[in-house]
């Protein structure tokens, strides 16, 4: 249909002018608007309706009833699937009726990197995300890779308060356009729920909810609180938790729940609300009061969501939701409080498009986890949760996720539905290779979602199940900085200063050629880039080659086997040139080996290798070939060796769209 963008016949002047003219006429004593006003109004209404319908027609043409469902299952492993087809009936049926392939992952095989490739169709050289953390070349300290927070450039102060007038905010650092933005530009509706590395959510017409990378209300990736009056408790909360001692007085304990720092105060004073706990003197049960909310829990029970409003200034607060787990009542009180999630009903930060979509979801299905990674691996790693407790929380998250998936599927009519599950990945980290039965229960949960999706896709819709990477055991921790030190590439101010101190505090940069930060990354201490860099541009490739040679030759002193399978140079590994934060070398470990937690934070411990004794026993930050993901579909897959970058191209192709500039993949069908 061709739309005539001229004036409708018989109409002269703007409708407002004509209405005003008619109004003047009425004011001059004509009891009612003149007859031609009605005609004009009706004419305009019909014209507007036609324009609207024409617009709608144009928007629906591209979708034309086409439907595609894509389930992103973080960390779903092809070998685990192959070993458990009989326990996963829906996934098994999908591969027999459709197809199943290993899906090549990114370099490095880390979730933010991989899902950014799924989002944009680019490799890290295009989208610019290389790790969970990047390093600031000026300071060599880690910084957030997925988001950037900037302070207000103009402010207005009154007493202790400061009000932003201009600038400031939070933005996504990923480059490239998301595939759902491209779909939206062609009028194809999409729902993209919990896509990782999409916080704040990319501006689009789609209904989207941010996923991994979404902080809690305090601005961290999730900080839990653990309250106890046990004087013998010496553990701390680890990197992502706080152990808070409390006192029981007059049969009650006050548990301060930390909120966000008050950005409207000059001192950024922290906010809090008091949760009051009343343990029964004899029974293993307690009541918790928060304002006018009350909850009674037995020992070992989780609460539903509690709402907290953290006061910032008169009439303005930050709204959060959290859950309580009553671990123990007697003889000592032990209470876990989850990270305070952004309240989807009134989020303090943007978590959805349109902005009120999270509220709509909350009204339909009640409060839900908004924190990017909600599985409480941190409390388990800190020894504050048992495996059973970790699993009970994990299953709550999975149930929450399945509930939302069910709702999305019920309301899905046409276009694209993308839905992301985090549970397999987070549980595999804690269960892989040792507790396969527990992990299988999580896989079974996802299998039920696949069954639902298969039913919804029966009428000709395309269904794809994808994972960003697989999994492997993490038996040995590699202290990459100590490896570099032993190989002569990194020098300390005193060799005796080896230890777990983070942020390279004892490194002598004048004598250091390379350093490791993050989980797969080595950076040259490059002149002109690093502050006080020591490697000249001329020597760069020579040093890189020398490091690569030594890393590939490096052997585990315990078993004499190679530790590193592959070494990639970012200058040649990627297509794009968005290399600002790219490491110079990406280390591809063999299965069983991974960079240590100390390496991730810039420490130089005493030994180059040690056993991984933590609860975190599975990982995927290895050589990409070692940990491929999966691709299952209800259609036959033509591609022999599909990769993550093929997924967005396949989605666009499914709606008759060509891939856009920078996309490196091909359709898999």
């Amino acid at each position: 249909m061709r739309v005539q963008w001229g004036r409708p016949p018989g109409l002269r002047g703007s409708p407002l002018t004509r209405l005003a003219e008619a109004g003047q006429g009425a004011g001059r004593g004509q009891g009612r608007p003149p007859h031609n006003l009605y005609r004009n109004v009706i004419g305009w209404a019909v014209f507007s309706l036609l324009v609207l319908l024409a617009g709608c027609g144009r928007h629906t043409t591209q979708a034309a009833g086409k439907r595609m469902i894509v389930l992103g299952v973080d960390g779903m492993d092809p070998i685990f699937l192959e070993n458990h087809w009989s326990s996963l009936p829906n996934l098994n049926r999908l591969r027999t009726e459709g197809d199943f392939r290993r899906l090549a992952t990114t370099i490095p095989p880390q979730s933010p990197v991989a899902w950014s490739t799924v989002t944009t169709g680019m490799d890290p050289g295009g989208h610019g995300i290389y790790d969970f953390v990047h390093r600031n070349p000026a300071t060599r300290l880690p910084m957030q890779s997925m988001t950037e927070i900037t302070e207000a450039t103009k402010t207005f102060s009154i007493g202790p308060y400061v009000f932003p007038l201009a600038g400031g905010g939070i933005r996504q650092t990923r480059a490239g356009r998301a595939f759902w933005q491209i779909l939206g530009e062609h009028g194809i509706p999409s729902n993209v729920i919990r896509m990782p590395a999409n916080f704040p959510p990319a501006e689009c017409e789609a209904e989207s909810l941010s996923g991994m990378g979404t902080p809690d209300l305090t601005g961290t990736n999730g900080t839990f609180l653990f309250f106890t009056d046990d004087p013998l408790e010496t553990r701390n909360g680890g990197a992502a938790g706080k152990l808070v001692p409390v006192k029981l007085q007059n049969g009650r304990a006050v548990l301060p729940i930390e909120g966000p720092p008050n950005s409207l105060r000059k001192d950024h004073a922290s906010t809090s609300v008091n949760l009051i706990m009343y343990p029964d003197p004899l029974n293993p049960v307690a009541r918790f009061d928060l304002g006018d909310q009350q909850v009674v829990l037995k020992q070992g029970e989780w609460s539903d969501w509690l709402h907290a409003d953290f006061h910032l200034i008169a009439f303005k607060g930050a709204s959060g939701i959290f859950r309580i787990y009553l671990q123990q009542v007697h003889p000592n009180v032990r209470v876990y409080v989850s990270p305070v999630n952004l309240d989807p009903e009134d989020p303090a930060l943007p978590i959805s498009t349109p902005a009120n979509y999270s509220r709509t979801l909350s009204e339909k299905m009640g409060p839900f986890y908004t924190q990017g990674i909600a599985e409480e691996t941190a409390a388990y790693r800190a020894g504050l949760f048992s495996r059973a407790e970790f699993l009970s929380q994990s299953h709550k998250i999975l149930a929450d996720s399945l509930r939302m998936f069910h709702y999305q599927l019920e309301s899905f009519r046409e276009g694209l539905l993308f839905y992301y599950f985090s549970s397999v990945d987070q549980n595999a980290h804690m269960l892989w290779g040792k507790h396969d039965d527990d992990l299988l229960e999580i896989y079974k949960g996802v299998d039920t979602a696949v069954g639902e999706a298969m039913r919804a896709a029966q009428n000709g819709a395309t269904l794809m199940i994808i994972s960003d990477h697989g999994f492997a055991r993490f038996d040995r921790s590699v202290h990459l900085n100590k490896v570099l030190m032993d190989a002569g590439f990194l020098t300390l101010d005193d060799p005796a200063n080896v230890g777990d101190d983070a942020a390279f505090v004892h490194v002598d940069w004048s004598k250091t050629q390379a350093y490791a930060l993050g989980l797969n990354a080595i950076y040259l201490n490059l002149e002109g880039r690093e502050n006080g860099g020591s490697v000249s541009g001329f020597d760069k490739q020579t040093v890189l080659d020398e490091i690569a040679r030594k890393l590939l030759a490096y052997k585990d002193p315990v078993n004499g086997e190679n530790v590193i399978d592959k070494v990639y140079f970012s200058a040649t590994a990627y297509h794009g040139r968005n290399l600002k934060y790219a490491p110079d070398i990406l280390v591809g470990f063999r299965r069983g080996y991974r960079a240590s937690w100390q390496t991730a934070l810039g420490a130089v411990p005493k030994v180059p290798l040690e056993d991984n004794t933590e609860a975190w026993i599975g990982d995927h930050c290895m050589a990409s070939d070692e940990v491929p993901g999966v691709l299952l579909s209800n259609r036959k897959i033509a591609a022999g060796a599909p990769g993550l970058a093929d997924i967005p191209v396949t989605i666009l192709s499914g709606f008759g769209l060509q891939k856009t500039t920078g996309m490196i993949g091909q359709t898999v069908f």
């Binding site: 009343y278 009350q294 009674v296 037995k298």
Partner: protein
């Protein structure tokens, strides 16, 4: 007190039942209109309408003076003073009808809370029941529920506040009697469950004065119990897709009714 409460609750229940087929906003609107008309009538009967008319004329005169003599400071000042005085006089004249209406309207609003403030306990969702006891020594309270309501926890004794709490979970819709035994004496509390609307009794109390504020159930006969409360979800009135506080709607509609009908009733407001 129980008799008075029953006398108010009963007609309200009939009225509510008569509109049970319609959205709650309809019944609320009708009762608001009726109350608005009632207040208008009382205002007309209990206020000095002659003085009211005179003082309103004075107000209009002062306003006119302010407009006409805007460039005469002395006149403007006198008009302001006169306006101020007339306003005070108006408020004084309105005081008597306001005082007359205060108690019945307040009682009515308190009783209406059972219909419009609280929503029944949703099925399958937990709720906390709390009993406040008189005397610190009362600790042997026991709760028994019908099969439709599960008691999920042992009692939590909160000595400091002389309270005992339980967690319950309703499984079927309707009303149910929670049966407590406190110090050997039986005590009951009615709860409403389900996803519909209706009479949702609030706190049950033992004191006569407390029963003015919490009039939904007969007073608790045991002196050992001060009150029994159930945490209900909040109800709201839906009007054109918007969720409004019922009291706001009540005030708007009753005032609109009174203002629209004042001429027909010959009442000066």
């Amino acid at each position: 007190m129980d008799l008075l409460n029953a006398a108010i609750n009963l007609p309200l229940s009939w009225f509510y039942a008569a509109f049970s087929w319609a959205p709650p906003v309809l019944g609320l609107s009708v009762i608001s209109i009726v109350v608005g008309i009632g207040m208008l009538w009382v205002f007309g009967k209990t206020s000095n309408q002659v003085s009211m008319k005179a003082v309103k004329r004075k107000v209009y005169a002062s306003l006119l003076e302010l407009r006409v003599f805007a460039d005469e400071p002395a006149v403007t000042w006198r008009a302001q003073k006169s306006l101020f005085t007339a306003n005070f006089r108006y408020m004084g004249l309105a005081l008597r009808p306001a005082l007359v209406m205060l108690v019945p309207v307040a009682l009515l609003l308190i009783h209406m809370e059972a219909f419009y403030v609280r929503a029944p306990l949703p099925l399958g969702r937990e709720a906390v029941v709390t009993m406040a006891v008189n005397g610190a020594g009362v600790t042997d309270a026991e709760l028994k529920t019908p099969a439709a309501v599960a008691v999920e926890t042992p009692p939590v004794h909160i000595t400091e506040q002389r309270q005992i709490s339980w967690r319950i979970r309703p499984a079927s819709a309707g009303t149910a009697q929670l049966q407590f035994t406190v110090g050997g004496q039986p005590v009951t509390k009615t709860i409403a469950t389900g996803d519909g609307r209706g009479f949702v009794p609030g706190r049950a109390v033992s004191g006569a004065l407390a029963a003015v504020w919490d009039p939904d159930e007969k007073r608790i006969p045991s002196a050992a119990v001060e009150w029994i409360d159930v945490r209900y979800p909040e109800a709201s009135i839906e009007i054109f897709g918007l969720h409004l506080n019922w009291l706001l709607w009540f005030i708007l509609v009753s005032m609109a009714a009174a203002l629209l009908l004042k001429k027909r009733f010959g009442v000066v407001l």
